[in-house]
Amino acid sequence: MTDAPLHMSVRLKRGDFSIDATLDAGPGVTALFGRSGAGKSTIVAMLAGLIKPDDGVIRVAGETLFDSQAGVNMAPEHRGVGCVFQDPRLFPHLNVAQNLKYGLNRVSPAQRADTFAKVVDLLGLDGVLERRPAGLSGGEKQRTAIGRALLSNPRILLMDEPLANLDAARKSEILPYVERLSADFGVPVVYVSHAMEEVVRLADTLVLVDAGCVKAHGPVEDLLARLDLTPLTGRYEAGAVLNATVAGHDDDVRLTRLNMLGHKLFTPRVDLSLGKTVRLRVRARDVALALTPPVGTSILNQIPVTVAQVELGSGPHAEVALSVMPKPSFGSAQAQTVLARVTRKSYQDLGLERGKPVYALIKAVAIDRHSLGGLGMGADQNKS
């Protein structure tokens, strides 16, 4: 526990607003997810030393950065906590190379040239090194900010909604870089976001924050499969995360075939090699249920599942958690969970009681391309 990349337990009160957050982050990417105003940014600012908690403890890699009882409050410059903010915060009077090198003196002199070259290469900044921030595109600015934080040799990297100010095209330009960060530099990342597709794509561990408190904490797949958390993960956006491997590409129809516990799953074509693990999010509202596999339908994915849990709200909806068991041919593996949102009427008509076998119908086109990514290397590291 003391050597965990991050352990923090802090409290802060400012008028009506209060924070009471306890969280741990392992290697790889930990996402802090919550609505705007939930206190995510305040939590990371406390971690960086820019806001002082009223009381609590913050430890990074076993070193105490803050301890109200012991009277420890390390200055930001000594914490070794790298930050990428929502706005890139590049120094306007310095060019890209000078911005990148600003924190480089924390890297040992012998490694500076190598590390610099590696970061410039990873982030594709070679062509803009001489330019001033004013002459950069939004994506280039944010890539420079990421590179600058990496080059300060942080023990942990905080990313506070780094993509929030970018349009969709810029987001998909930067996401692959962020995906590789944690693995390529072996630095644990705390990623703040209110966009679930980013979380699903990047994070291994999910921390749900609401009204200044940590409401849940655990592997992304587990938390997103829990019906009781859908109010926090966003009811409209609610959906479970599935892990699958690439089984093949059907180029003539531009689809990719995935193997999920032996079940076949079609998605829009993705550029991943065979056998690669992917994580995909299937929104509950994109899943329909049937008692028998329908014929003559456009829905490609029909997966046998059993009802695990049903939650009836006050509205016309019923949220259903479904277990996907591995096919006998697949060998032993842990069951996965799919969420479905159906009407209360269907729930009654189909008799969706716990343990009932049904078919989950998932439209391939409904699988969000942006939430479909190769599992971050950080996740692989976690598992090995």
Partner: protein, 235 residues
């Protein structure tokens, strides 16, 4: 060209430039420090310090001159000590004139610097801290370069104000030709002496030329510094 002014008038112009230059350069670091304290620090008595800095702007200059005389005169608290320990005399010397000019120009200088310092995004300073820079490095490498346009503007305003300084100067260091008779004092003297009208007119024109030149140069300089700070000029 040299005949345009009499030797005394040349002396007055030279003295004015010297006094104003030293007044400006000498108070520049203090101005930056004071601007930083007022813009970035919260402390008990903040309002009082702010008021004290602005006092020369609202008080009759003669009062400031008198205050300086009491404080820095040979018999004054500070003046006596300066003379005893360092042998420095300020009264009736150009150095005293520079101090009077500096004090009178200080509020203008601090105002300009504070405005530009407040426009510097504190997020940039935070970012620099998280990159491992100590506060002093943050100030030197981030804050100061970004507030530089305000430093230049403040410096030029102070210089212009120092050139025109009259009341505090004449009260503190009197009106001694070659020592403390700056351009405004020389002009005043000429208006008081019979037959001095032509000289007074020449000095008035000269004052206008010097002031306009200074302002134009500062405008050019400020624009260049600003463009550089914002990253529009490659270096």
């Amino acid at each position: 060209m040299m005949d345009f002014l009499s030797p005394q008038e040349w002396a007055a112009l030279g003295l004015s430039l010297k006094v104003s230059l030293w007044a400006t350069l000498g108070s520049l670091p203090l101005g930056v420090g004071m601007a930083w304290i007022l813009a970035r620090r919260q402390f008990f008595g903040h309002g009082l310090v702010n008021a004290a800095v602005h006092l020369p702007l609202v008080l009759p200059p003669v009062v400031i001159g008198y205050g300086l005389l009491v404080l820095l005169g040979r018999g004054g608290v500070l003046g006596g000590w300066l003379y005893d320990v360092f042998g420095i005399t300020l009264v009736f010397t150009w150095k005293g004139a520079a101090i009077a000019a500096a004090v009178m120009a200080f509020p203008l200088m601090v105002r300009a610097m504070r405005l530009s310092l407040e426009a510097v995004d504190r997020g940039l300073e935070d970012a620099a801290r998280t990159l491992g820079a100590k506060p002093i490095k943050v100030f030197v490498t981030i804050t100061l370069p970004l507030m530089l346009p305000g430093v230049v503007t403040g410096g030029v305003l102070a210089f212009a104000r120092a050139l025109g300084e009259f009341g505090a100067t004449i009260t503190f260091v009197s009106n001694i030709p070659g020592q403390t008779r700056t351009l405004p004092l020389a002009l005043y003297t000429l208006t008081q002496s019979p037959g001095g009208e032509a000289g007074a007119a020449r000095l008035a024109v000269l004052a206008v030329i010097v002031a306009v030149t200074a302002l134009m140069m500062s405008e050019l300089l400020a624009r260049r510094v600003k463009a550089k700070a914002e990253g529009h000029i490659h270096d």
